[in-house]
Structure formats: structure tokens, C-alpha cells
Symmetry: C2
Subunit: 466 residues, 2 copies
Amino acid sequence: MRKEKNLKPMLSPKSVAIIGASRNPEKVGHIILQNYIDAGYAGKIYPINIDATQIMGIKAYRSVLDVKAPIDLAVIAIPAEAVPEAMEECGKAGVKAVVVVSGGFAEIGKAGLQEQLALTAEKYGMPTLGPNCLGVMNPRSRSDTLFLPTFKISRPEIGGVSFMAQSGAVGSTVLDMISGEGFGLSKFISYGNAAHVDESDILNYFMKDKETKVIVMYLEGIKDGKAFMKIARKVGRAKPVIVLKAGKTRAGSQAAHSHTAALAGDYEVAEAAFRQSGFIIAEDISELLYYAKIFASEAQPRGPRVAIVTDGGGAGVLMTDAVASSGVLKLAEFSPGTISALKKAMPPLVNARNPLDLAGDADGRRYAEALSILSSDQNIDMLIVIVLFQTPGADSALAAKLIEYKGGSTRPMVVVSIGAEYTEMHKRMMERSGLPVYDSPRSAAAALAALYSYSMFRNRKSLSAP
Amino acid sequence: MRKEKNLKPMLSPKSVAIIGASRNPEKVGHIILQNYIDAGYAGKIYPINIDATQIMGIKAYRSVLDVKAPIDLAVIAIPAEAVPEAMEECGKAGVKAVVVVSGGFAEIGKAGLQEQLALTAEKYGMPTLGPNCLGVMNPRSRSDTLFLPTFKISRPEIGGVSFMAQSGAVGSTVLDMISGEGFGLSKFISYGNAAHVDESDILNYFMKDKETKVIVMYLEGIKDGKAFMKIARKVGRAKPVIVLKAGKTRAGSQAAHSHTAALAGDYEVAEAAFRQSGFIIAEDISELLYYAKIFASEAQPRGPRVAIVTDGGGAGVLMTDAVASSGVLKLAEFSPGTISALKKAMPPLVNARNPLDLAGDADGRRYAEALSILSSDQNIDMLIVIVLFQTPGADSALAAKLIEYKGGSTRPMVVVSIGAEYTEMHKRMMERSGLPVYDSPRSAAAALAALYSYSMFRNRKSLSAP
């Protein structure tokens, strides 16, 4: 039976000690200290450096033992050989959690050094992340151990999606991508070699964390398969979990083994476990974001029947193909009331059928009228609204109408818009208002299909619960 | 036997008459005239308007019959009912080609009016595009009939990709997307109802056009299946053709029928014809662009063996999965010479194996050294270089090194970079220098797999030729 690790002091620390804080801007410890100051972190900061009494205007200490005040989180950014002693001092000082960003452990063959780190963490009951990781980021608490400048990785806004990644590079790439999306971040954890805190601990923490609405995972290996399965089953029932696992093919699995010295394991076994737990399986980084976006909207579908509204006939056909190919979604049949109302309200060119092609000259008013008619149709469970902003009538006023409509509707609704600058501008406008925008018919269909499948999974589970 | 239609006067006209040119900025004829002036079109422009003697400072005429000078192209932008008479006058005036942008024909049930248009075109041997289309755009000749402002659709640069689309909305969307890519446009044709010039005529013209290196098609229906098959077989041998056909599913096919009143036909039949002709089949608009990008680079693969170089281990694993899943590509085995050279030149952390993980601190110099070693390895046919610009060493100097290396290499090479602004900046930098950049491992693998499959198809065809 594994003991639960409390990660709260790591993610929402009231005080942070930065071991290896330095005046030298090249040093990781300098960048981390700078980030805490720049982000406006409200807690206490204790730079720890054997040679300095003050760094960046903040009183520095030789050791955490000299601080003589409670320390929630210690970030360790010193050479690997010095880490065990620093960990001991953290333990003695009563530090509540540790993030070891330093590399130079199992990933270069020094398994003994890593084992020592894990034992110290365990001895003092001190949840320890890493080593060889980017650490954590929490936009609410402004705790941010990422030692990468913000011009390289845009930091996302506050939101409900929590994300964990073994790999620092993939982690920071996804974080950077999230910053371009309308949904925000709850917590980010890059856990590296997972000497002490592993994917199961983090999954458990995300499950219990009230600020986390959606969990996104990038995995290479799974450290403790049994523990993972146990927690996965519970989490899947509680919150949507989106997972991308590398090492799907034999070649990929071999590459993963070489990368993290962790056993990638049998992908089929992992996949079966994910499915049993109701996880949403992504096949690529872009899919992680597609799925995160729809689940972050917290929309609840009543059924699989989709209405498509479009200003481009061709795009409507491609969307219909994508819906029909999803294996889950169905094209809604408009009710007789909808059909006669559309016939009355729409110009003669518009056929009152699904997909509803509002024609290339549709503007905000026509979209709003059509959507208002579809509102009361009980045959429609979800809405896909295609807006090609290249057409003459598509502009900011139309985007505003969609935002307004979404505000008054409980049905899941997504927008599909494809294009360059003018489109991107409107995409950002809609996403900031909580309207998910997709850049292809296939991704929109995949997202709604996942949303519906997960709601079915949850309903099944709750029915069969004791 | 269908007669060949010469589309050159339509795409590279020495003189253009705009029938329906107007002072009223709301009118399509106004926007088209304005576009020709703004684009710096070098040929003669003849505004045709029954009520004006001058429009935007250019002498106007009551009819093309009054021009008394050779007219290569007449663009017709007047109400549908007036089109037949205008066509007659074009024929009598010896106009060489016509683009009818006006709608109001078969798409609203007026098949007779459309038939009349086709008969007049045929009578005078005057290739006629449309009706109900956006028309043509050729960045070389600066002939541009698109009646949509440039802030809505960015116009692409000059390049080797020619693109045709039945649907005006999908056409303009793809055109807009192309403007954001590094490859440029040769010709764009939106052919609408295809009363006279259809997909087979355009395909034939693109095949013979020396400026067209790659053909991209968006189809809903195929008007003349037999003619299409015949030309498709020839074109496929001559140039790469990338095709997206809507109406893949029964529901999609029904929607397509309602949209263009053209029979979408059996998708399986069309797909079989595409495959026999060596066409590259896209499943979504984004795939059209992925494939166009790699073929526009005109790279010639010698074989399917891929080397992967990365600064992120996780991304290397995902890339390996994508290569192994492609069904076509293989992971190259580094030669003993490569392995020993890598061991000598790289830091100890770097494993001399494929995927080659240069580690998160790799910079331009390390990439350049590694690529230089891989250059002489005869086991490598293609290169995938992953650069996660979130890592500390990835910057403009690294991008410049890759551009430099690509310049001296004959092997197909693509870059995979995923991220927000800092990544986008470098993506544009590399693409402008002819280095294709992909935003996911899967799209990069799909592109290289298509490139290799097509080269195999061409080799087979040339061997079996009489």
C-alpha cells in the first residue's frame, strides 16, 4: 500500500527556499530566483548560497538550516553530487516538499545517487520531485520553478487544466502551446526521473485538487503499474483524463527506454488500462490540446446528435464526413418545427437541412437567427458552427453574436474556423470568451466524440456503482 | 473525345475586360477592378459599364464590342439574367477566355440559364470558368478576380503549387492558409458550377503548365468521370497531385449533392481512381497543406530510411512512433563510421543511435556537427530534425545552421517544431529559406511517407512504360 504524498506545499507554497540561488545569470538557480521575483510570488523567498549574504536584494542564507522559519518548498539547483547533503538539511529543517531540477542521476547511469535521494525523501516524509526535471508551475500561487525564459515559453493564463509530463522538453512545448489556447492552466508538473514522486502520486493529487477540472498527461514509462492502475480507475470516474503515451511501436518503445531508462512497457497493456479507466487517448501533442480544449469548457452533452451550421458548403460537407466517420456522433435530424421556422426566416438559397449552409454571404444576423431557431430543437444535442472568415459577411460582429449565443446555451458548442491572420484574430477573441475553436473538421468531430464518449462512460460507471 | 481548352489567356492575360466594373464600392465589379489596379497588373484594363465613361481614372466602355482591341480575358460580374448577352458580345469581340463570377444559375435551379452559357462558350471556342465561382489568381501575372479584400484573405507569394477548388469558400480558405506557409502559389482556380471548364480541363492545363510543380485539388463531385480518369492517369505520372474529396461518407455525399447539385459519386470509385493515378489523398484541409509543403520542396528520396535528430528525448520517441507507424518509412541504422564519429564529437550524454537525442542543451554548433557526421552515412535517405525552441540552446543561430546545412544537402529534410510565438518566428524564418517545417511528428512522417511512396510510383510507371 503506497502512502499518499501531499503535493500542496510543492504547488502552493507559502515560502520557497532556492538552493543554488546565484548572482550569476547563467546559473539555473539565478533564473529560478528571478522568475519568482518577476512573477510577483507573494510568499517568502529564501535564496540559499554558501557564499552570499544577499542576492538580488534578498537576504541569502548558507543553508536551509539557517533560515529558522517554516519552509514549504525547497528548489534544489546544484550539482548532483551535492544534492544528497542538501536533501538531508531540508529534512532536518522540516522542509515540506522538494523539487530537484538538477540532472546527473539515473539518466547518466548514476542510479545509486538517485536511490539515495529517494531514501532521504522517504526518511523525512518529504515529497520530492525529480531529479532531472523542470519542476512545477502554478499560475495561481505564482510558484514557477521553470528555468526557461518567458520569451521562449509563453506562460498560460489561470484555468482548469492540469498537465503533467515526464519529459521536460515535451512538457515545456505543451505548456507553450497551451499559452496560445483560450483555456488556462491549473498546475504544471514536469517530474523527470520520478525517484520519489511519480505519475501515480501526481494523478492522485490532481484528482483531489479542486482547481483541477481536466487532467492532461504525457507519459513515456509507468513506474509502478499496479499503483497506477488503482489510482487511474478512481481518477477516470472523477475527472476527464487525457493521455498521450510515447513508445507505441516497438521502435518507439526502444527509443523511450534509451531516453529515460524507464521501461516503456507494453503499449497495448497501458492502452487497455487507459480505456478501462475512461481516459481519452491522444495520438499526438496536437490531440492533447484538442481534447483539453473541449473538456475545459465543461460542456455536458445530452446525446450524440450534432447540428452543423456553416457559411461554406464545402466545409459543411467535410464536417459531415468527419461527424459520420467519428463512429460516435450522429447528424441530427431537424424537427418539423425547425424546418418550417428556417424556411420562413432564411433567404430562399438556404436549404432547411443539416448541415445548414447559410451561404457565402451569411453575416452575424443570419447566424444568430438560425442558431436561435435551432435552440429549441430537442433533436439537437451539440452544435458545430463553421465560420470561414474569408467570406464577405464574416467579421467581428459575427464572432460577437456567437459568443453571445453560447452564453445563453447549455448545449456543447464548438466553432470551426480555418485560415491565417484574420481568422486567428477572431479565434483568440472567441476562445477568450470560452468558445472553443477548432482548425479542422476532423479535430472538432474528434473532440465532441470524446466528450460524448466520456459522458457515456461516466453515466455507465455511476449506474454500476454500489 | 474532348477538345483541349487553352486556359493561358485566363491565367496570364495581356488584357482584361471587367464587365460590371462599377464606381459603387459595394459591387463585386468594383472590388475586382480595384484588385487589378492595387496588384499592379501590367496589362490593359477595360472597365465595361453601360452608364460610365470612366471608372477609377480608367476609360470605360459600354460593351466589349466597343473596345476595338484584343481582349484576352473578360471577367463577368453582372446579374445572371444579363450574362448570356454579355457572353455573346464577348464571343463576337473575339475575347479569348471568360470568368463568370456571377451566381444565380444551376445552384438555385436555373439549369437552363447555365446551359445557355455553356453553349455560347462552346460556340465561340471561348473557355469559360464558372458561373458561381471566385475565378482565378496568378501572382506572377497579377491577374486576380477574387472579389474579397486582402485583409480577409492574405495573398500567397509566387511559387510552384497550383490549386483548384470547386467551392469558393474552401478555395479561399486554403488560399489564405497557403499565405502562411513558406511555399508559394503558381495558379489558383475556383471553378464553381463548372458549366464549361471543369476539373479535367484544369488538371490538363496544370499538367502542361511549366510553372506548376505540384497540383492541389479540392473536389466535391466529378463532372465527367471518364475524361477525368484519362487525364488523371497522365497527370499522376507527370506531377505530384494532392487531392481532397468531400463526400466520403454517405451523409457527406448527400450534403455535397445538396450543395453543388453535382453527383458526388461513389467515394470508393473515386479513391481507387486517385490511387491508380498515383495521387496523394488528403483527409482534411490541413493535410492538403502538409503534403503540398513537402512536394513543393521538390526533394527526391533515394529510399525510406529516416534519421531523426532531436533536442527533446520525448519528442524523439513520438517521432519514432510516427515513423514506425507510417507503414512506409523505416528508422535508419547508423553505419559504424557514423557511430564512432558521433561518439568522438558528441558530449558523453548523447547516445550514438537513431533517434539521435542531442539533449536539452543542444545548440546550433552541436546540431551542425551531428548533421555533418550524418551527411556521409549511406544508410540514411531522409532527415527529420526536431527542434523544440523552448530548450535553452535553440535560437536563431540554430535555425540558421539548419538552413545552411539544407542548402548543401540533396537528401529530403524536414524540421519539426511545436510551440507558440518564439517557435512560429523561427518556423517562418526556415520556411522562407525552403526548409519545410511541420508542427507535429505525425504530419512530418505522413509527408515523408507520401514523398517516398510517390517516388516509388513514378519509378514503377517509368519502368513499365512502353
